[in-house]
């Protein structure tokens, strides 16, 4: 593998508090050197990065790759390609596949498919319970041994407080977080969008904010009880933010993530029964969106994650009640974050890189998230200023389900390097 010199970019590395114009030399799959005027080794590939941002590769803690089981929606190869096109050098794959990722066979399959794809790194997340059924604990030891980095029952909330308690306790043995989709199923049952004035107008059954907040509160209490690490997925309400803020004040092992759609859109996007605005947790109110933004600024919410959820176009081409939840996000997360958070002055670029790279790595204890010498050569070159229009037909993902089609945004990944090799180069 030839060395790569990324020359003259604005190198932002939140792990070292660095933000300077510098060169980065990658060799042997690791970061060889960072500094000014590094000489070009004879055989090196040179990437000119003047005017660009050079950052540790983005890491997504919440991705659905659909393989095994629903390869018509996405495969590990297409998802890993979409990831690098969006600036992500690693993604964590949720276990809601068919079969469910609750045993070493499926974990190993995901790992080997990711190796064959040779794009973004893919870290499997194992199921908390066998079959995501919420009854019997999966074999965390076996899952971790095969390569799982966390456990989650994903879209099947762990309704049993006893199961959640034992999962948090048992996960401590392996030092892995338990990621929870917080939703009280009885309160949310049949809901298609946020419960509020828009759902009332559209005549759609709503999901109240309390359905999320009840489970956030429970998970925080169980983190306190067990000393386990709970990671709260895709936070969407101002009430959740207040609960997490309190948990952080108590120094509990509680981390959380928020998605670009929740800091960009509100339930108004469901007007006209646009099924691309249907997701779970649902798009909430303007006050919730502001609270999520504030929490990303002050660190109450640690991480930006995509909840990338591919669906076939005709699955969304139906009645709102019957359409599946979720949108894809790997190729829109960075531009949306730059446009909505940096463009609005809420975050600086280093703060954004922290939320999308360094903090995700720390939260799930993953390699990367840093440009320190000796760290993995996972890196992204970002043009932070380019203005463009989101065109789903140009996505690398197999799916096109996004509410952001034709939206004008700023910033995107130009070059993505994984393990010291160029995994994506915008042409």
């Amino acid at each position: 593998m030839k060395p790569i010199l990324v020359r003259g970019g604005r190198v932002i590395d939140p792990s070292r508090g660095a933000d300077d114009v510098a060169d980065v030399l990658l060799a042997g799959g690791t970061i060889e050197a960072v500094g000014r005027n590094i000489g070009v080794p004879d055989d090196a590939t040179v990437i000119e990065a003047a005017g660009r941002v050079v950052a540790p590769g983005l890491i997504d803690l919440h991705t659905h790759l659909r393989e095994p089981g629903q390869e018509d929606l996405e495969t590990i190869a297409t998802g890993a390609m979409a990831a690098v096109a969006g600036g992500f050098t690693a993604v964590c794959a949720m276990p809601n596949t068919d079969p469910v990722c609750d045993n070493q066979g499926v974990v190993g399959f995901v790992v080997s498919q990711a190796q064959r794809a040779a794009r973004a790194r893919v870290y499997p997340i194992g199921a908390i319970s066998l079959g995501q059924k919420g009854q019997q604990l999966a074999e965390f030891g076996e899952l971790v041994g095969a390569g799982a980095v966390a456990v989650s029952d994903d879209g099947k909330p762990v309704m049993s407080s006893h199961l959640m308690r034992t999962a948090l306790e048992y996960a401590r043995v392996f030092g892995i977080p338990v990621a929870d989709h917080c939703e009280d199923m009885a309160l949310a049952e049949g809901g298609a969008m946020h419960e509020g004035i828009v759902s009332t107008r559209l005549g759609l059954k709503g999901i109240p904010a309390a359905a999320e907040e009840i489970m956030v509160a429970r998970d925080i209490l169980l983190a306190e009880l067990t000393g386990g690490h709970v990671h709260l997925c895709h936070m969407s309400t101002r009430g959740s933010v207040a609960l997490i803020r309190r948990a952080k004040d108590m120094h509990l092992r509680v981390t959380s993530e928020a998605c670009p759609h929740h800091f960009t859109l509100t339930h108004e996007a469901c007007e006209g029964y646009d099924t691309n605005a249907k997701m779970n947790p649902p798009l909430r109110e303007a006050e919730d969106r502001e609270a999520i933004r504030g929490a990303l600024r002050d660190g109450t919410i640690d991480v930006i994650a995509t909840d990338h959820a591919p669906h076939h176009y005709d699955a969304k081409e139906r009645e709102f009640d019957d359409a599946p939840n979720g949108i894809i996000g790997l190729e829109t997360a960075l531009p949306l974050a730059i446009t909505e958070l940096v463009g609005s002055g809420l975050l600086t670029l280093p703060e954004l890189i922290l939320r999308m790279s360094t903090a995700p790595a720390r939260t799930f204890n993953l390699p990367g998230g840093t440009l320190a010498t000796g760290a993995p050569a996972d890196l992204v070159v970002i043009d932070p200023d380019v203005e463009w229009e989101i065109r789903p037909e140009a996505f690398h993902s197999k799916s096109r389900n996004t509410p952001f089609a034709a939206r004008r945004v700023r910033g995107r990944a130009e070059t993505t390097i994984v393990r010291g090799a160029i995994a994506y180069q915008r042409v």
Binding site: R201, G203, L204, K205, R318, F320, D321
Partner: protein
């Protein structure tokens, strides 16, 4: 281009003038149904599909009479026994109907937004005959026409919509239509059956049925779906009647006579007592009669008939 646009999905996006146009157009059509030969040629040669994904007696028959009295050719499609029950999607069903070169679809569907979904995907006119909990615009229009018949006006009228507003498409269409025409609207029912933020639609919330009766000029009493008890929204039908039922005793204490509307089908002894439903101030059957005229008006206007309504009702050729 008809003055209503291509489809009638709901009253939310109609103007007061458009609603008045429909009501005024319905007036001459009322008389058609009183004739020995109940037929005018206004929609001769038009093909209309009544696409009903939910069971319906009154609304489906009312639309069918309206279509036939306008001389349209009609086909009724019920969800059971059709390709729908074999798993065909709504968009495929619609495209297949379209391929048979139809002019209009009247759709009743259990999912909110289904009528708009269809309207955006086919060139034919689409009329919403009730979509989920969203709207039932022709029911709203016939309720408003019935109120206008009795009071001579809508502006300033006080109308209380009572009962299961949460699950009611009739309530939403009434709220939009009445408020646009200047009526004061209140909703009254157990808080478990009032949707979040309903006041943002411009209505007052009255917590007790006694308050609604004391305030209103007219009550529109909604049907209580019997399964609401099993799903925990109310303790029992008996309790509902005791606390929220529209009874003769409660009406007797009202400061004035109230007009009583009900979109049907009624649960006698639950939301409304029989002696009220059959009483002198009930306009439940005139509502049904007006339903045919209102639906004739909507079909006629969406088809873009060039004859003035009075001529169309006389049977003159356009």
């Amino acid at each position: 281009m008809a003055a209503l646009g291509k489809d009638l999905v709901g009253l939310e996006h109609l103007s007061a003038d458009q609603i008045r146009l429909i009501l005024d157009t319905a007036e001459p059509f009322k008389e058609v149904s009183e004739r020995p030969i109940k037929k005018v040629p206004a929609l001769r040669g038009k093909t209309i599909v009544n696409l009903f994904f939910e069971a319906s007696t009154r609304t489906r028959i009312s639309f069918e009479f309206a279509e036939k009295r306008l001389s349209a050719d009609t086909v009724n499609v019920a969800a059971s026994g059709s390709s729908v029950s074999k798993g065909e999607t709504l968009v495929d069903t619609a495209k297949n109907l379209e391929a048979m070169r139809i002019d209009m679809v009247v759709i009743r569907h259990g999912s909110s937004g289904a009528a708009q979904f269809l309207g955006h995907r086919i060139a034919s006119n689409v009329i919403n005959a009730g979509d989920g909990k969203h709207e039932h615009p022709t029911q709203g229009l016939l309720d408003i026409l019935t109120l206008r018949d009795r009071f001579g006006r809508i502006a300033g009228l006080k109308v209380a919509i009572c009962g299961d507003v949460l699950h009611s498409r009739v309530a939403r269409s009434n709220i939009w239509g009445l408020t646009k025409l200047g009526a004061e609207v209140a909703v009254c029912g157990p808080p478990t059956l009032l949707p979040r933020g309903i006041a943002s639609l411009g209505v007052t919330i009255l917590p007790r049925i006694e308050d609604a009766i004391a305030w209103a000029d007219a009550l529109n009493v909604l049907r209580l779906q019997l399964e609401r008890m099993q799903t925990g929204f109310i303790p029992s039908l008996r309790e509902y009647n005791r606390v929220f039922g529209v009874t003769r005793e409660r009406l007797a204490r009202a400061p004035k006579d109230l007009l009583i509307l009900h979109p049907g089908p009624m649960n006698r002894g639950v939301e409304i007592d029989s002696d009220v439903a059959d009483g002198e101030h009930s306009v439940i059957l005139p509502q049904v009669t007006n339903g045919v005229a209102v639906r004739m008006a909507v079909l006629y206007l969406l088809a873009g008939g060039r004859a003035a309504p009075a001529q169309a009702a006389r049977g003159d050729e356009a």
